[in-house]
């Protein structure tokens, strides 16, 4: 009798352990079948707040909007440099101030109603009128309906980049009747966001089945789609997953595509997956404050020089991993306005030491700030910052690392309060004009307190570029602007991290786009 009790308890404990064990072992064989066209699972790191086309401005949202909505113009999947017609074809006047768009006959929204000029006017005026995050893209452009199938866009100054801008997902065309019926307006009173986060109202190849901004989005084929693309998968599931977990999921076949792997995670992948590592169009750079009130040392142009020549750029690429390239300048190398490889900054430790001493950097500690809770396209700012700290120390520049959550740090960045900041820029559209705000007195320049008049040569070139439309002239002026900025500006372009798209060998049609990451409708099954 005495020993009965403990035995009973031993039995109970074993049963409990067995039960908890069963929970785990009863689960093998739940892997997704990779070759089916029923569904495809895409793992990524969600960075969005909304998928209302007029309000979204984050890469993940751009990808979703691209799959559900069509724009007037777009890029092909393989050729990402030529703008092609989508919902419309266009002609422009010689000054590039008037663009006339003719809508394609027969294109319909997901509810079957035709795409008309009214929808175009509504969508584009809503974008600017709501004053959302991407509204500025369309600033200074007026939209006018000519007839049911014709729309004219007019700008005061020549706008050579307008066709490129029109391919951006925020300029998608929405079904105006449906959106208006759900609270949509063309001013700040618009209340359609909540509805657009649960439904889609586009003419694209997919429609929204469900969306949870924290965990996953499910798209299904649009039965009424009659555009040029041929979507393969009935269902596309986007999931929000940590990078490490993404890698395990895709290697084990539980997902077919992983978009959020960092460059240093893709060197030794399993045989079941492939990786496309291409330089992304995201630029990672240092900003150095020019205001003596923030730091006497960083305000000196000698210090900017010292930092530029203290950095071992190859050493940064080493830790950034696959696909990363050194920046050639402020504008990504692959864009109109990008500088050639020969312009790249080089390490010169002796010059750096001399310049640092001249700037009075010895004995001073400079703060290097960065956001430590997000990884922009494929690189960890944390890792880069740690490497930079060691490299700068070799040139006699002592920096202290100051990581903070993005939400707190972005404010110091915007207000021009960081001594040195490590930041990144995801392109709004694939054109050099996007980067002109680096000039003194413009909003990027003001983040380092580089006031108007600080460098008249750079400012004059920037002003000319806004109105220059001849491609050859633009490239020449951009190079002049870019080289001046590189030599005399308080910025240090570091690198363009790799975009590493990892996908199952059973999947085809994975084309990286700097704007919408990948086009879900282009994905297919390998034969």
């Amino acid at each position: 009798m005495k020993h009965l009790l403990p035995k009973a308890m031993l039995f109970a404990a074993c049963t409990a352990l067995l039960l908890s064990g069963c929970g785990q072992s009863g689960t093998s064989g739940t892997q997704a079948a990779p070759a089916s066209t029923d569904q495809i699972v895409i793992d990524t790191t969600f960075d969005m707040k909304t998928i209302d086309p007029g309000r979204e401005f984050e890469p993940t949202a751009q990808m979703l909007v691209k799959a559900m909505y069509d724009n007037l113009l777009t890029y092909g999947d393989e050729d990402t440099s030529t703008v092609v017609p989508n919902l419309a074809t266009y002609t422009a006047n010689e000054e590039l101030t008037e663009f006339t768009f003719t809508l394609q006959e027969g294109r319909v929204f997901s509810d079957g109603s035709p795409v008309t000029a009214d929808d175009v006017v509504f969508s584009l005026t809503r974008l600017t009128g709501m004053k959302g995050n991407p509204s500025y893209l369309f600033d200074g452009v007026t939209v006018e309906k000519i007839d049911d199938m014709t729309v004219k866009l007019t700008t005061a100054a020549p706008h050579p980049a307008l066709p490129v801008v029109l391919t951006a997902p925020p300029l998608a065309i929405l079904n105006s009747k449906v959106v208006q019926a759900n609270g949509g307006t063309v001013d700040e009173n618009d209340a359609a966001e909540e509805w657009l986060n649960a439904n889609s109202a586009g003419s694209g190849p997919y429609i929204l089945e469900s969306f949870d901004v924290r965990s996953q989005a499910v798209l299904v084929k649009n039965p009424n789609y009659n555009g040029p693309q041929t979507p393969t998968f009935e269902k596309v599931i986007f999931r929000n997953v940590e990078p490490a977990t993404q890698k395990m999921n895709v290697e084990r076949g539980d997902s077919q595509v992983a978009l959020g792997l960092l460059g240093d995670m893709v060197s030794d992948l399993a045989d079941t997956v492939k990786v496309d590592s291409v330089p992304s169009a995201t630029t990672v750079f240092l900003i150095i404050n020019t205001d003596p009130a923030i730091s006497e040392v960083t305000a000196k142009p000698e210090f900017w020089k010292a930092v530029k020549s203290a950095i071992d750029y190859d050493g940064l690429l080493e830790v950034a991993g696959s696909g990363a390239i050194q920046s050639t300048g402020a504008v990504p190398a692959q864009f109109v306005g990008g500088l050639p490889e020969s312009s790249r900054l080089k390490r010169d430790l002796e010059a750096a030491k001399t310049a640092a001493a001249a700037a009075g950097a010895s004995g001073k500690t400079i703060t290097l700030s960065y956001a430590n809770d997000i990884d922009p396209t494929g690189v960890s700012l944390q890792t880069l910052a740690e490497r930079l700290q060691v490299q700068l120390a070799e040139a006699g520049i002592t920096v202290e690392l100051a990581p903070a959550p993005f939400a707190t740090e972005v404010d110091a960045y915007r207000d021009g309060k960081e001594q040195i900041g490590l930041w990144y820029w995801i392109p709004d559209y694939s054109e050099g004009n996007d980067y002109l705000p680096y000039s003194p007195g413009q909003w990027m320049g003001l983040r380092v307190n580089w006031q108007a008049g600080a460098n008249p040569a750079i400012e004059a070139l920037a002003a000319e570029l806004l109105t220059t439309s001849d491609p050859a002239q633009r490239q020449a002026k951009f190079e002049e602007w870019g080289n001046l900025l590189l030599a005399e500006g308080p910025y240090v372009p570091l690198l363009q991290p790799g975009s590493n798209v990892v996908y199952s060998t059973s999947i085809t049609g994975v084309y990286y786009s700097p704007t919408w990451i990948i086009n879900a409708a282009a994905l297919g099954v390998a034969s």
């Binding site: 890698k247 830790v319 890792t383 740690e386 990581p403 903070a404 959550p405």
Partner: protein, 286 residues
């Protein structure tokens, strides 16, 4: 009386139940001793500079780099050695601070009673009802990420248990005859606390604190894991695990710092248990 004249190590050793002294006890004691020694001399004996990035990246464990190298080409072994001071040192600091803050509030509440007691205890309730994550995160965000601020943030959530236990001890002491007679003799409250109360409260509180060091180390390394504690490039173990997560297939980067945390916490918990069993066999301070 003979008991109390023994040296502390010998008392601790005797406090360990005979069944555990060998072999688990021996293993634990040896590991604990190793960590304490490392805490003192770790930074001096690292084979490589724990901050230098001059080795090849992602070297697996080998002859030159015993536990491999990390994503920046730093020696993991050297970093773990150097990190002992950070993790263990700060855990001790946190426990001491929690104990002091909690005890002071507990003594004041218990001794003065009435509205003082009510106010302090309701404040304790408030802190305990607060979700730890949010409190620590918002504090760390408000103060800026640094190790000392992480200790402050952790302190805010760590002192209430001390306040409660100390207060209840003071309450029961207050009515003891010698305390009451001390007050009749005209002791000021301060003297009464100093002479009659503190000496009686100190022992059990210290025992409670010693059992808390492991938990403190876990809390701090957890905050560092979230990026709220150690500032890079400091070789804090939680931060090392954090940056190793995405390199899970280079297992040595994360497994060893994790094991370091685990062994340190086990050892301190074990020592805390042993101390408590010895001084407080009935587990009154649990």
């Amino acid at each position: 009386m003979a008991e109390t004249r023994r040296s502390l190590p010998s008392r601790i050793w005797r406090a360990i139940p005979p069944g555990i002294r060998a072999p688990l006890g021996v293993v634990s004691a040896v590991i604990a001793l190793v960590w304490v020694v490392l805490c003192l001399i770790g930074p001096q004996i690292t084979p490589h500079d724990p901050l230098a990035q001059n080795l090849p990246l992602y070297q697996p464990p080998g002859v030159d780099t015993l536990l491999g190298t990390d994503e920046l080409g730093r020696d993991v072994f050297s970093r773990i050695l150097a990190g002992a001071q950070v993790t263990v040192g700060l855990a001790l600091l946190l426990v001491v601070m929690s104990m002091v803050v909690g005890s002071v509030l507990g003594v004041v509440a218990g001794f003065f009673g009435r509205w003082v007691d009510e106010a302090i205890m309701r404040f304790t309730d408030l802190v305990m009802a607060f979700p730890t994550v949010i409190l620590a995160m918002v504090t760390a965000a408000a103060l800026g990420a640094s190790l000392f601020n992480a200790v402050l943030a952790a302190l805010i959530v760590s002192w209430p248990p001390y306040a409660r236990v100390v207060r209840s001890m003071v309450l029961s002491l207050r009515h003891q005859e010698y305390v009451a007679s001390g007050r009749l003799l005209g002791f000021s409250p301060l003297k009464s606390i100093g002479v009659d109360i503190l000496p009686n409260v100190a022992g059990p509180t210290l025992v409670m604190a010693s059992a808390d060091i492991g938990t403190a180390a876990l809390l701090l390394s957890g905050l560092s894991f979230l990026g709220l504690g150690a500032k890079p490039p400091s070789p804090e173990w939680g931060a090392m695990v954090s940056s190793a997560v995405r390199h899970f297939d280079k297992w040595w980067m994360g497994v060893f710092p994790g094991l370091a945390i685990l062994t340190v916490v086990i050892c301190f918990n074990f020592l805390g248990d042993a101390l408590r069993d010895y001084f407080d066999p009935k587990g009154a301070t649990r």
